[in-house]
């Protein structure tokens, strides 16, 4: 083979490798974020109300059995299968998280402790499948997942020092009456409602959030799948200029 032919072959091979890299990067990384909708929350009177729910499954076509968070659109009130949302900077964020998934013992019970919220507490209410409220507005600084099994997942933004265990239906309800169709609704399903507040940072940017309970069923140690995928048990809180 002549030198120009070898050089041309080398260039073509190089371009193929680069093209494959770009395609894989776009397909697996780019599309994973760009296809997820971002829910925009705007402040009113210096506060913003963010509403999430976590479910034992989701409504995706490809991974319907993965546990997942959903974010509620503040205008349409529709639940969107995403974990991306924006809040204004320097604003009091009032979080409401509906816990429909069953209880899970924390691997490290240190995460029972509420950290980084205003007042260092959360307020929890729990309802059975008939809508009966069996715990009402319990304001607490920790939720012990081992002794009571009342924690489904956690909501953590490590860069802000925010670590919050998210309440679930109790053990008996978790075992027998879990919601089976997402996004879940209060009708016919046991659930918990947890509220807390924290201040969004003054610095705009992307703040990752995640669940600290290995809840990727079917994966080694429960750490794969939804634990490592945007749109399920991890996401970004985008802080934008207020």
């Amino acid at each position: 083979m002549s030198v120009p032919a070898r050089a041309a072959a080398l260039i073509v091979a190089f371009l193929i490798v680069v093209g494959l890299g770009v395609f894989i990067g776009y397909y697996y990384i780019g599309s994973a974020t760009t296809q997820l909708p971002t829910v925009h929350y705007t402040a009113s009177d210096g506060q913003v109300n963010v509403v999430l729910q976590e479910d034992p499954q989701n409504n995706s076509a490809t991974r319907p059995d993965w546990v997942s968070y959903f974010v509620q659109d503040p205008v349409s009130k529709q639940w969107l299968h995403t974990t991306l949302f924006t809040v204004p900077a320097n604003t009091k964020v009032n979080m409401t998280i509906y816990g429909y998934d069953g209880c899970t013992p924390l691997r490290n019970n240190y995460w029972s402790q509420i950290q980084g919220t205003i007042g260092g507490t959360v307020t929890v209410s729990q309802f059975d499948q008939h809508g009966k409220e069996y715990v009402t507005n319990d304001t607490t600084s920790d939720i012990n997942s081992w002794s009571n099994c009342n924690v489904g997942h956690t909501f953590a933004i490590p860069d802000l020092g925010l670590f919050v265990p998210v309440a679930s239906p109790n053990a008996q309800l978790s075992a027998n009456y879990l919601c089976s169709s997402s996004p879940c609704t209060p009708q016919g399903n046991p659930y918990a409602v947890e509220t807390f507040s924290f201040m969004s940072p003054g610095q705009t940017g992307s703040y990752r959030w995640q669940c600290l309970i290995p809840c990727g069923g079917g994966f080694l140690d429960g750490n794969g799948g939804p634990m490592q995928t945007l749109g399920y048990m991890m996401g970004f809180m985008y802080v934008v200029a207020s």
Partner: protein, 328 residues
Amino acid sequence: MSSADITASAGGNAPAEPRHGLRLFLMWFWLALAADLVIWFVWYPHMPPGRMSVAAAGQQFDIAVLAISGAPVVIFVLLYFTYALVVWRARPGDDSDGAPIHGHVKVQLAWIIGTSAIVLWLFGFGTYELIVPAGAGGGEGPSPIWTLAGTQSSTWSPGSNDILQVQVIGQQWVWTYRYPQFGGFESSELYLPVNTPIEFHVTSLDVIHSFWAYKLGIKADANPDADNVAYTTAKATGGFEVRCNELCGIWHGAMYNSGQVVSPSAFESWASGVRAKEQADGVLSALPPYALTYDPTVVAQLGKQIVNVDGITGAAGYYYGPGNPVTP
């Protein structure tokens, strides 16, 4: 060049050949001396990882000594290369061959002795630095061959010579720290007292991580079901950063937090405060008894007890041991 030309050149009419060896030696000596002085007095104080701890200062010293050892060698190679290019280059019109090379005992001896001395020096220095206290900086194991800087004890108080034990726990993707001498409380902040020997016990809840407190000169693998021990003594107060240094999942790059070195009294005050708060909140009693590892099997057994007691067998979120992945 003909044999007649060679004979004529050697006959005494050509200018005397300068003493290249002496020239090279003198140039090398002064350049190497200058470089080593610059390294020691100018660069060394600013070399990574700084002098925040005994381990860090030791690593900085090692890097400086190795730089001082290596600079003369590098300078010799570059100098000889440059000298050859300039002095022994072919002049215009000179198509002659170089002089034949014969064995040269002095050069051969100098080469053998010089390279042997360099290798032996590096071997001796490296070995010595590994066995001085906290020599390796991290991962020394529970029974290092050198004498510990303090006394191992189940308690710690300011002013004592007791070693402060800190357990470092990695999990995707945060660090937490337990203090067994303070009731085993756990914190997401790493506080350390200055001028106090520290014994890190590094482990992991899930996958392999690596605890890297760069400014403290400590890096130790955090493996599940393993206790990796590393020692240091912080010599200055201030902040430092902890990073994961082992690819551990999608947010490995975001697995970092900060630590503080404070006075012993401030540390005791902080530790007592956190312990009291976690006692009051009930978190301390909810933590498992302090152990050197977070064995997933032990956690799974604990989980099974809870599962049986509460009757939630098969509920979503049941813990998945490494050998028993469960599909919900």
